[in-house]
């Protein structure tokens, strides 16, 4: 599609780059974000990339809307020359896939005659891209999940999904950075901190990053600092 620039508010514009969700969008999205950051400099207050769009919040005391639109148009005319400075980073998340911490693992295994290993293999064989961060700090919406694992959200969201839980919703997957409410189908748990205030930049990954999952044993999970407390968020 031809990119569209829309007014989103007094001090904000929305850039619509794509019509559909696709992992191949993310390189261009990241490239546009990086270039806009550099071009707008101090006039940029916030930038929210998400799937197919980039929302820009700018300082109206430093730059007018027409000037901002001009910068965006100029950036969009530039060809995307792969990723320049901000390479998409790859993260490997160890996951303990187990029914005790993943109450929907059984549900998904039913599709493969109860073969848990098939669920695990299909979930960890993909290299996912982070389409967006949102919902809560460090919560990354990732895709695209194997079509055999596609599962709608729970009809009634849980009040509490434990930190580290790995979930599937539709053809997306995510890891819970904290204890949060949620309706994703939970199949395992990672010991890795996804939001850490002692880490530079706070979140493990950024929009556009590549994430892989790697099955580990209960012992490895514990050795890595994981909390094996059985899932108790079942009460809706």
């Amino acid at each position: 599609m031809t990119p569209v620039i829309e007014r989103a508010g007094l001090d904000s514009v929305m850039i619509r780059l794509f019509d559909t969700i696709d992992v191949s969008n993310m390189d261009m999205l990241l490239s546009v974000v990086d270039t806009l950051k550099a071009e707008l400099g101090e006039a940029l207050i916030d930038v929210t990339p998400s799937y197919t769009t980039v929302l820009l919040h700018y300082d109206v005391y430093r730059m007018g809307e027409a000037a901002v639109r001009g910068v965006i148009q100029q950036v969009l005319r530039q060809p995307v020359s792969g990723l320049s400075g901000n390479e998409a980073r790859t993260h490997v998340l160890p996951v303990w896939y187990d029914s005790s911490v993943g109450p929907e693992l059984d549900l998904l295994a039913h599709r493969f005659d109860g073969d848990f290993q098939e669920v695990i293999t299909r979930h960890q064989q993909m290299a996912y891209r982070v389409f967006a961060l949102g919902f809560a700090p460090g919560f990354g919406f990732m895709g695209v999940v194997d079509e055999q694992l596609e599962t709608p959200r729970l009809a009634t969201p849980r009040k509490r999904v434990p930190k580290g839980s790995i979930g599937i919703a539709g053809r997306q997957t995510a890891a819970y950075p904290a204890d949060l409410p949620g309706g994703w189908n939970i199949i395992g748990r990672t010991p890795v901190a996804l939001f850490d205030r002692t880490r530079e930049g706070y979140t493990l990954y950024r929009t556009g990053d590549v994430v892989r999952f790697e099955a580990v044993s209960r012992q490895t999970f514990l050795d890595l600092g994981g909390d094996a407390t059985p899932f108790a968020g079942g009460d809706a």
Binding site: A8, V33, D46, L55
Partner: protein, 317 residues
């Protein structure tokens, strides 16, 4: 007292809501971190201006009432925003002015008479550690607030500020921020998916009186009325601005406020202007509001005038 002495504001009762606020957290939306900040940013600035503070010095945001405070030292504070039938011991006090308090006196915010949120400023602001540029605390986020853990203030908390010993000057505002009109007009910048409203829905959006629902907080305010429907009921999730007017499938709009999530997937018919968003922060459930489309140039001028007018609206009393 020495210039560096610490004074404290004690929370005796936290009632309907008592939070520390500033202008909010910026430059972090890409991490999934929210904005937060004083819902009625104009009243926050007024409270600070009354004491000669910087506009976004840390204030206390008191919502709805049943909040009781006392202070460790003789000090001068300022109140701006809602009239919450406030008493200093037995004496009624009105917002829009500085108030001298003796140590141990109780300031009790009873219940709304006019508006929903009042802002209490202390000399130089409350002295609380900021993280990522702000002290604001948003539900779902583990940072901000008195203890930097994201919690709102609770009974028993004591919030420090510098007992500067700055000589008290009695200041008041010419016209306290009032919302006495029977129907509050909220200016809207149309945009985004406005084109996806059917004719009748478009008419209803801007012509009917909407009612502020009970489901109203710093994340969002739901309006109820004749439903409006977008031709595009669900979209790919995208960034959301403060004041965005979302239309979920039930047709009852939700105006997203400062503590909103960073992304969402409902179509939006536009966004409130910053001034209208501040006014929305004073709307109690049951209040009637009208959405009025305005030009961007007019909205920008109104916002600049409002901010510039804060200083000139204050005089010594």
């Amino acid at each position: 007292m020495s210039p560096s002495a610490k004074a404290h504001c004690h929370i005796e009762q936290a009632g309907g809501g008592c939070r520390l606020q500033d202008a909010g957290r910026f430059g972090v939306r890409h991490l999934g971190l929210g904005q937060g900040g004083a819902f009625d940013s104009v009243s926050m600035r007024q409270a600070n201006q009354l004491l000669g503070n910087v506009p976004d010095a840390v204030v206390m945001e008191i919502t709805l009432g049943q909040v009781c405070l006392s202070f460790s030292h003789h000090t001068t504070i300022a109140l701006a925003g809602a009239d919450l039938k406030t008493r200093l011991d037995d004496q009624p006090v009105a917002p829009g002015r500085t108030i001298e308090l003796k140590a141990g006196q109780r300031l009790f915010f009873q219940a709304p008479r006019d508006g929903a949120r009042t802002y209490l400023a202390v000399p130089d602001g409350f002295d609380v550690t900021a993280e990522l540029g702000s002290i604001t605390a948003i539900a779902r986020e583990p940072l901000g607030g008195l203890h930097q853990d994201g919690r709102p203030l609770v009974k028993g908390d004591s919030v420090p500020f510098k007992a500067s010993g700055r000589p008290a000057r009695y200041m008041e505002m010419n016209e306290p921020w009032r919302c006495t009109d029977s129907v509050m007009t909220l200016d809207v910048l149309p945009g985004m998916q406005a084109g996806t409203l059917r004719g009748e829905s478009l008419y209803r959006a801007y012509q009917q009186r909407w009612r502020v629902d009970e489901r109203a907080d710093s994340m969002g305010v739901r309006l109820t009325g004749e439903p409006i429907h977008s031709l595009e009921p669900q979209m790919i999730s995208e960034g959301i601005v403060a004041g965005a007017i979302q239309v979920p499938p039930d047709g009852q709009p939700i105006i997203l406020a400062n503590d909103r999530q960073t992304i969402g997937g409902y179509p939006k018919i536009g966004a409130l202007t910053p001034l209208a968003l501040a006014r929305l922060g004073q709307c109690l459930p049951g209040r009637c509001v009208r959405l009025k489309p305005v030009s961007r140039a007019g909205a920008l001028a109104a916002w600049r005038d409002a901010l510039a007018g804060i200083a000139s609206a204050i005089h010594a009393s």
